[in-house]
């Protein structure tokens, strides 16, 4: 019954989405408030139905109803409850349902909190949102229905892929989707603006918070996924330039560019056409990511070939939305009025530079990700484009961007003073040189690249806070006065500083981890002692243990520093009884400050030993603290008063119409 109701709710949501995608448009055309207001109620009702459909699938997984194919294939009655819930989106059908649920959530939020939008704009935005929703409801219902029943219900399920039985699955996909799908809002706003043929600073003020929300979630989602890969895979890597990772990085880069260009548009009413284009591109890249991951074109051309409906369907959605929106852009962009002037050396100029480098970096990732696919389709040759390609293309483009980051907030709008900004950044530059010297001396020569990169990171971090320090007149006035000024500063200024510092922090982590990482790979037996980076690790015992749905081999290591016992680390290797003995490696991590010791196990050897991999990763946690700092900056910015109350109220007449709805 639950499965059928869930299915039915999804069909109803499709029906509502179809109404929402047409009637409000007609209303906006005829200037009929009643018809336009249909958008609001249908968006909320749609959210209700998708949410209940999603809840139904969660129920089925929790109660282990193996008569439903999706539950049978991805669940097991012995699986811990938390993985029964997260397993809902640990598979194709369920994750698509999560995708549309989040899409409906964003639509519902615009409907609920968009009462200060002009009625026609809101109607059009929600209609565009419903086009996307309809396409994906159709996709789910025709090719990926999670509610299909099995004719002969089995007694036991096939269990979830053990790699996914981790708390990372609870957090990472929902966050990533909140980011991916969140960009649909700026897309819908862009399309609505093109249809209306009117766009102004107020438009940017509405779009920016939504973009910011999506960006925060995407940042956290990517960072979380990276940390998950780091501890779950067992060899300490945290970024692989895997196409699926690139699929999430591309919208992030474009979205970051969009955040900055929307700022120019909001403050200076310039870069309108570009901002619209970026909104379209960002969501198009989200759709491309969905296509790359969901069609199966990456992991297996075979999956694409035996079940072509899915791949072709998403490809169709992708081409219709991307092609359609770009055509609309070409047709209507010229109707938008050109905005304010600015000199190349100005805050606007700096933000243009930011956009230029971010989009170009995004383009190189795009080429690296899609070139192998295109080449295979065209010539049949198979190549792999891996980390070396991206290190050679992406990194050189990011360096000038990072040098420019501290200058941006220092330049005035319209016409800036580059020399003045450089003078104000002298302290940051000096600190960076000091960092360069210290790292150089500490590393005793070696690659010059690492100290230079650290210096760049320090420049970015100190530069980010220089502006802040000047504004609160730090060191120049009594503490109480400084604190008062700090409180009075707009939160968005704090946000900018934190977000920019976050990039520097992450860069330090990346450089230290890749340059000064020490590793030991070998076999160890009980009682063996290993020394790494000053730590002494003694393998104490090697034992078998039984978990709820797996058996595991646990090694226990005593870690000591200067012959003082610090802690015990217990990496293990799990063998899952349910999936044909499939095994996973559970690494053990010991955090010291922001550095980590990392142990993972390999195969047991014939003579009673075991293969181990031990790493010391200096400052590795900074890699993820950086993005967290960026997200924090985003949240501070989001809480800025100006963003919340800045949007102008609609005219009194319009408001009365809305009350009468």
């Amino acid at each position: 019954m639950i499965a059928e109701s869930g299915h039915y709710a999804l069909v109803l949501a499709l029906g509502l989405a179809l109404i929402q995608s047409t009637i409000p448009l007609l209303g906006a055309r005829l200037n009929d408030p009643a018809l336009m207001n249909v958008a609001r109620s249908t968006a909320l009702a749609q959210l209700l139905f998708v949410a209940s459909s999603f809840a139904a699938l969660v129920m089925l997984h929790v109660t282990s109803d193996f008569s439903v194919a999706n539950v049978f294939e991805n669940s097991h009655s012995l699986k811990p409850l938390v993985y029964k819930i997260t397993g809902v989106w640990g598979n194709h059908e369920g994750s698509m349902l999560l995708w549309v649920s989040i899409l409906a959530l964003f639509g519902g939020l615009v409907a609920a909190f968009g009462s200060n939008l002009p009625l026609s704009l809101r109607a059009r935005v929600l209609a565009v949102q419903a086009w996307i929703a309809s396409a994906f409801y159709l996709f789910i219902l025709t090719t990926s229905n999670p509610f299909l029943r099995l004719p002969d219900p089995p007694i036991e399920g096939r269990d979830l892929n053990p790699v996914l039985q981790d708390i990372g699955l609870a957090v990472h996909p929902p966050m990533l989707y909140l980011g991916y799908v969140g960009f649909s809002i700026s897309f819908s706003f862009a399309i609505a603006a093109l249809v209306e043929g009117r766009i102004d600073a107020a438009w940017a003020r509405w779009v920016r918070p939504w973009t910011l929300v999506a960006w925060i979630f995407l940042t956290l989602g990517i960072a979380m996924g990276s940390y998950w890969a780091y501890y779950e895979l067992g060899w300490g890597g945290w970024w692989f330039w895997d196409p699926v990772e690139n699929a999430s990085l591309m919208p992030w880069l474009a979205g970051t560019a969009l955040l900055h260009s929307a700022l120019v548009m909001e403050k200076r009413n310039a870069l309108k056409v570009w901002t619209i284009l970026l909104s379209i591109l960002t969501f198009s890249l989200s759709l491309l990511g969905t296509f790359l991951v969901r069609s199966g074109v990456l992991t297996s051309v075979h999956a694409f070939a035996t079940d072509p409906t899915r791949g072709v369907f998403i490809l169709l959605i992708l081409s219709v939305f991307v092609g359609g929106s770009l055509m609309l852009f070409v047709w209507r962009a010229s109707t938008l009025k050109r905005g304010g002037l600015f000199s190349p050396i100005s805050r606007e100029g700096a933000l243009v530079l930011n956009n230029l480098f971010l989009t170009t970096a995004c383009a190189t990732v795009f080429v690296g990700t899609l070139y192998p696919l295109a080449l295979e389709v065209v010539s049949g040759a198979k190549i792999s484009v891996g980390a070396p390609f991206f290190n050679l293309t992406f990194a050189p483009l990011f360096v000038p961007l990072m040098i420019a980051v501290p200058f941006g907030p220092m330049l005035a709008w319209k016409r800036g003073d580059l020399m003045g900004a450089a003078q104000r950044l002298l302290a940051a530059g000096a600190t960076a040189l000091l960092a360069l010297a210290v790292t150089w001396a500490w590393a005793r020569g070696g690659s010059a690249l690492a100290p230079l990169a650290i210096a760049l990171a320090v420049f970015v971090i100190v530069g980010a806070f220089t502006d802040l320090a000047e504004r609160i007149s730090l060191f120049r006035n009594p503490v109480a006065y400084v604190l008062a000024r700090a409180r009075g500063l707009p939160r968005s200024v704090w946000g900018t500083a934190f977000a920019h510092a976050g990039i520097g922090v992450a860069l330090i982590g990346i450089v230290c981890e890749t340059t000064w990482n020490t590793e030991y790979i070998g076999t160890m037996k009980e009682g063996d002692v290993m020394k790494i980076a000053g730590y002494e690790l003694r393998m104490d015992s090697l034992t078998q243990r039984l978990g709820p749905n797996y058996r595991e081999l646990v090694a226990s290591f005593i870690v000591s520093l200067n012959s003082e016992r610090l802690s015990k680390m217990t990496p293990s290797k799990r063998s899952f009884t349910t999936r044909g003995g499939m095994s996973t490696t559970e690494a053990a991590l010991l955090t010291r400050g922001v550095s980590q010791l990392y142990i993972s196990l390999g195969d047991a050897t014939a003579d009673g030993g075991i293969a181990v991999r031990i790493y010391h990763k200096p400052l590795v946690l900074l890699i993820w603290f950086g993005p967290i700092l960026m997200a924090l900056g985003g949240m501070l910015s989001l809480s800025d008063r100006r963003l919340r109350v800045g949007a102008p109220r609609p005219a009194e007449a319009l408001r009365r119409l809305q009350v009468a709805e």
């Binding site: 994750s95 699955l169 996909p173 990772e245 051309v301 999956a303 190189t364 390999g602």
Partner: protein, 168 residues
């Protein structure tokens, strides 16, 4: 500056950055891409030692031998040919005899493929894409590989990289 000059400055900058990016991409594409091959192709075309490529196929049952200090040797085979592979390190969790595998490295003078990376995806039904295609072309396809392909394509960066059980 006039409006036109300003615009030209920006367009000039944009073109400069794009040209730089294009140069970087072309340079990187020349130097850092790795071609995929199979034992049959290697045998037919007599690959020169020292050229980096990826080798895909099935791990020949009975060929896996473990030496001292994590050294392993095994054979990668397709229908018509097989090639000895030497590797030092820990093999991925899903490395099994009879399963598909992709190794990256180069041939040495004696014709042994020295692998520095061995890839296997974290799914018991998964077959590396290149291997699946190559085997299918040769009519060496087993149907059970196609079952449950949804797992391998899970939409998350973490899982997909999880899938990329690269060994260093």
């Amino acid at each position: 500056m006039t409006r036109k000059q300003r615009r030209l400055t920006i367009i000039g900058c944009a073109l400069g950055v794009l040209a730089l990016a294009a140069a970087l991409v072309l340079n990187a594409l020349r130097d850092s891409i790795v071609f995929f091959s199979t034992p049959t192709v290697v045998a037919e075309q007599r690959f020169a030692p020292g050229r980096r490529f990826r080798l895909g196929g099935l791990v020949q049952p009975g060929s896996l031998k473990r030496g001292d200090n994590l050294a392993v040797t095994f054979e990668i085979a397709d229908r018509n040919a097989k090639l000895p592979v030497a590797y030092k390190g820990i093999l991925p969790d899903l490395f099994r005899e009879g399963q598909g595998v992709v190794a990256e490295g180069m041939l040495d003078a004696s014709g042994v493929f020295k692998a520095d990376t061995v890839l296997a995806k974290h799914d018991e039904n998964y077959m590396p894409k290149d291997v699946a295609d190559a085997l299918k072309k040769q009519g060496h396809w087993k149907d059970d590989y196609s079952a449950n392909e949804a797992d391998g394509t899970f939409a998350s960066q973490g899982a997909a990289s999880a899938a990329q059980g690269v060994m260093r």
